[in-house]
Amino acid sequence: MATDTTPRTSGAARRPTGTLSAREGMARQYDYWLTVYKRTWRGGVVSSFATPLFYVVAMGVLLGGFIDADPATLEGATSYLAFVVPGLVASHAMTIAVSESTYPVMGAIKWHKTFFAQLATPLAVRDLVNAFVGFVVFRVASACAVFMLVLAPFGVFESWWGPVLAWVSQVLVGTAFALLAFGYSARLRSEEGFGVLFRLGVLPLTLFSGAFFPITNLGPVLEWVARLTPLWHGVSLSRMFCLDTVDWSLAAVNLTVLVVLSVLGWFWAVSGLDKRLEV
């Protein structure tokens, strides 16, 4: 038994002398992530761009062709395609963020132990989280940007500045979900937990957060459940900006939720990795 123990401070709170600035900590890992990107970007193109394209064609164009709804029931969209695109891209941002922050995080802890190697250098836990999530957010941002550009000629956007702000909100969705998934993965002992996350987290959120149909269709109770999900706030922002139907007070709430989740997610990710790597 330990006779006396000094209180442990978490990596997030501790600021030892010689600690790198957040910027320097990220900069030192730039070459690493650049090398990873050079090696993996081709595969990323397929999953990041092709998958949502399939969705748009299947759901937006082909299935949407059967939907002849009054714009009032489609939150102001003139077609189902214009309705579904902003939601699809937002939910795609979540999917990329979660996928890139699950198995790769466990790999870096458990299989390849790259985090342990990195931590033997002046880098600290928070630097590892910042660079890792920074890379995921870059992946999300580039995938969403290309996707929004590809969709521009299809007449689904109502202004030039709206899609830019929609893209920012999609990136914010990616940031929040990357950090939350990172924190979850850092605490997970076995990869079986990812099945639960994808089946009971990602899939229901994708289907019921208003990406494919207005959440008012869910009925009053489920509608409020949907409003509490983090993805809905991203879908709501993305759609309001794309369709130029911005309700600024709602947008402020949506934005606040995503920012607060990102901040909480950062502490959750750093504390999770800090505990996990202390052996």
Partner: protein
């Protein structure tokens, strides 16, 4: 270089290190010798400034890991027990990118990586994938990587575990060259031959405590006889036969497969055993090693 006083490490109720005092001097090769679970690796991780000290005092290069962790880590090299090479990067990039973590500029990193590939004798593998390397090459690459920042102290946790004898000798030779170059080495091992080969001074650790401290020679002189006679009899006979010969040496140890008779004159012990009409299946007279020191201090062999 390193000084510890009353150093402890606990994980919940389990106390891995139970209060040790250690001093490592500049330029020496210092060893932690002990069986698995002795607390060596926990001690090493505290020295590497990645695992917080539970209690006691620890100073590395004059700094406190609790407040100066990043500064200390910038001047240490760490070769962990398990390979933590990045399998997704090639051999050269493993060195180059690791150097970048220390804030070394790109050109210097490249030069240094080439030098270290040379040092580790894996230059021709520079573009190879890590997973295509042999176990010995991976270990040499790990050591090369730990040298990328020109560390003042190199920490090696079980550096040759799992390597074949030839690969071990190549590695020992490289570590010896580093020592000649003035790098302070801190090594944990459960191989007594490794400790004898490499260490100027070592501590024997057991159950989280230091059982003895000194140079390999001093430890052997203090805790064992000059020679050991090993006698192998039939299975199950050793316990009973030990009583018949216990007067022949200073001490007799009964192991499952043999008897060890400690004496300064091993050959005389053998002759006396045969005189008593005992017929061992196999015999051997050898010099005492750190293994014998450990057996004497803990009552157990290092392999336990």
């Amino acid at each position: 270089m390193i000084s510890a006083r009353g150093l402890r490490k606990s994980f919940g109720d389990f106390e891995a290190v139970k209060g040790i005092d250690v001093d490592v001097r500049k330029g020496e090769a210092f060893g932690f010798l002990g069986p698995n679970g002795a607390g060596k690796s926990s001690t090493m991780r505290m020295i590497a400034s990645v695992s917080p000290v539970t209690s006691g005092e620890l100073r590395i290069l004059g700094m406190d890991p609790a407040t100066d962790g990043p500064a200390i880590r910038g001047r240490l090299g760490v070769c962990p027990q398990e390979d933590t090479l990045d399998n997704e990067l090639n051999v050269f990039d493993n060195l180059y990118i690791y150097g970048r973590y220390f804030g070394i500029d790109r050109a210097t990193c490249r030069d240094r990586a080439h030098e270290l590939l040379e040092f580790a004798q894996i230059t021709e593998k520079a573009k190879a994938k890590v997973e295509d390397l042999s176990g010995g090459m991976k270990r040499r690459l790990t050591i090369a990587r730990s040298l990328i920042n020109n560390p003042e102290v190199l920490l090696l946790d079980e550096p040759t575990t799992g390597l074949d004898p030839q690969a071990r000798h190549v590695l020992w030779d490289q570590l010896f060259r580093l020592k000649q170059a003035g790098v302070t080495l801190v090594i944990t091992t459960h191989y007594m031959d490794e400790a004898e080969q490499l260490c100027d001074r070592l501590v024997v650790m057991d159950k989280g405590l230091i059982a003895a401290e000194g140079s390999p020679r001093e430890l052997i002189d203090a805790h064992s006889t000059r020679e050991v006679a090993e006698l192998r009899f039939g299975v199950g006979e050793h316990e009973a036969l030990a009583e018949k010969i216990e007067d022949l040496g200073e001490r007799v140890e009964v192991l499952p497969d043999r008897l060890l008779v400690y004496s300064d004159h091993g050959e005389e012990v053998l002759a006396a055993v045969l005189d008593r009409g005992l017929q061992p299946i196999a015999t051997l007279v050898r010099r005492s090693t750190l293994e014998d020191v450990f057996l004497r201090l803990t009552g157990r062999s290092l392999a336990d």
